[in-house]
Symmetry: C2
Subunit: 362 residues, 2 copies
Amino acid sequence: MAVLHHSLDFILFSPVDSASTVPSLLSIFHEQEMTETVHDTKGHGYLATLVGKHGRLALLRVHSHGMVTIDLQCYQEDSVAEVDNLLNALEKKLKALLSGNIKRFKRLPALIRGAEVDRYWPTSDDRLIEYDIDQVLYEEDSAYQNIQILHSKQYGNILVLNGDINLADSDTAYTHAIMGSGKESYTGKEVLILGGGDGGILAEVVKQKPKMITMLEIDQKVIDGCKTHMRKTCGDVLDNLTGDCYQILVEDCVPVLKKYVQEGRMFDYVINDLTAVPISTEPEDSMWEFLRLILDLSIKVLHPSGKYFTQGNGVNMTDALTLYEEQLEKLSCPVGFSKEVVCVPSYLELYPFKSCFYCLFS
Amino acid sequence: MAVLHHSLDFILFSPVDSASTVPSLLSIFHEQEMTETVHDTKGHGYLATLVGKHGRLALLRVHSHGMVTIDLQCYQEDSVAEVDNLLNALEKKLKALLSGNIKRFKRLPALIRGAEVDRYWPTSDDRLIEYDIDQVLYEEDSAYQNIQILHSKQYGNILVLNGDINLADSDTAYTHAIMGSGKESYTGKEVLILGGGDGGILAEVVKQKPKMITMLEIDQKVIDGCKTHMRKTCGDVLDNLTGDCYQILVEDCVPVLKKYVQEGRMFDYVINDLTAVPISTEPEDSMWEFLRLILDLSIKVLHPSGKYFTQGNGVNMTDALTLYEEQLEKLSCPVGFSKEVVCVPSYLELYPFKSCFYCLFS
């Protein structure tokens, strides 16, 4: 049973006296059988907690610097009409009391806390975003991560790994970009996909009749979930681990890559769909170590004329992107790179919406 | 001075006794010189309000159905380190106390209430979205509306009318779509733009050397703001109200349209950039009346082979879109229409991100 957290915020041109506002607000609360406890704020304005039936709880603050805030928490099963009436009455009364002194009034959509289906997925630069998620289709904890497949009216089914939005049915732009935006031909080529358990890239590359695609995905449970719930993205390519021109190895890519390096195996394309660039800008971070290792191994299995594609990070994470580009200069063999900024619908801001994609070449 | 509203939510597999959780949490608060008032919730779990220095305020609730929530309000000028330490200590303690019983833990980015620059612009389907807005470049109240031009790192400068995001520098996709997605040629044509005070459409149509563009924008203050702060969108077309192949009439479009109808004036294209489709699905709503009136007048000034373009609403507002399409059938002259769904970067969800564009023809 979720808690709905409502807020009414009045930002004022000049401070108001609590004596001129509080009594008539309290009488509105009293009508709803809510009773107050007034707190000593040691000079930080008026503060009352109000408790009522059905677990209703309100905070009334008349801030000393020219702001009035009201919080109302109630349970989701509470009467929507009664709660709305209370909020409307408070809003109306305060608009009348503060008339002429209101710089801004803000009544945000209620924050839904503890709902069965979580709708809040903050961005990489830590902003609050509420998605239109209405259903959890799949949830598993594998040995590697928490896997969720969620349904959104707007984006279709969305794969979420450890709370990070990976790919939605709507995100063909992601797959298109990480394959080189239509400028590459995979026909007759040797292709290596790192990660990619949602099958989106595999399904697209297969269409171009490559010589062979090898996909290294560590997590069988991602494949299982996507096979069932992300068919708009993967089609039928995940139904079998091998097909006419592809094989999926359910393995950690690092030892496999090391083996390929030893064997001298070469690919025309390496597509790294493993993780986005770490958000942290601590170069000592083990995420960065991992990223460098993968990059280094990938370049070693790349034909001299081959290309490596990967996703960068959200365009707002400029420091992380700069650091990423510095990593490229530290590789054991020198590479050039190009980058492209693309809209990925479901990303909004989460590794956001506009995302950098990199193409590396020798 | 804004209030930062932090929340820590623990959703549990099974209810916990407040006696097993509350005392060690209170001691963390006490270390920060916060003192509690415990409230009688009449059977709805444990509730304490805690008040501390610098106007700090916390709510501690152990809900009777298996959830623990903590709210912490503090002022923006408060010590970030101290507040973070307090939140971290509470989170750590609760994770230890509730170990094995935590279904989900959620620590959302703090809600910033009453900031100088407002970052929250809810979507048309009332979801909470925080933008990366860092500056108010222009704010005016005209006779018609509140006009703001805001700066976002991601979207560039954004025109906001009465709290609705209209257009950002990033939104060339909007202009492209409302002009018919590159499938129309405006060269040598008579074009009528309704609204469009940001100059985005005007600037693009002008490039195609039409015979004449007439733009009817009611609000000089929108033009003034955009001329200065939206130059990436409008270029120099707003610097003068007349140009080689255009004239801007700063007038209410309804009487002008009525006059054009009487005069028998005809256009090859009418581009309605006035308002989006009303969100309300009350057909009696005056917004719908207005919309029908504009539609009707527009069709009357349209050459038999002409086309009318307009923006629909967010793809999530299916009821409103259906109602809009019903309005089209009620027009005095019958029209056909096609529609297209397009990504508009800054819209995210606000008349959202994916927006319908309509093309009407006789």
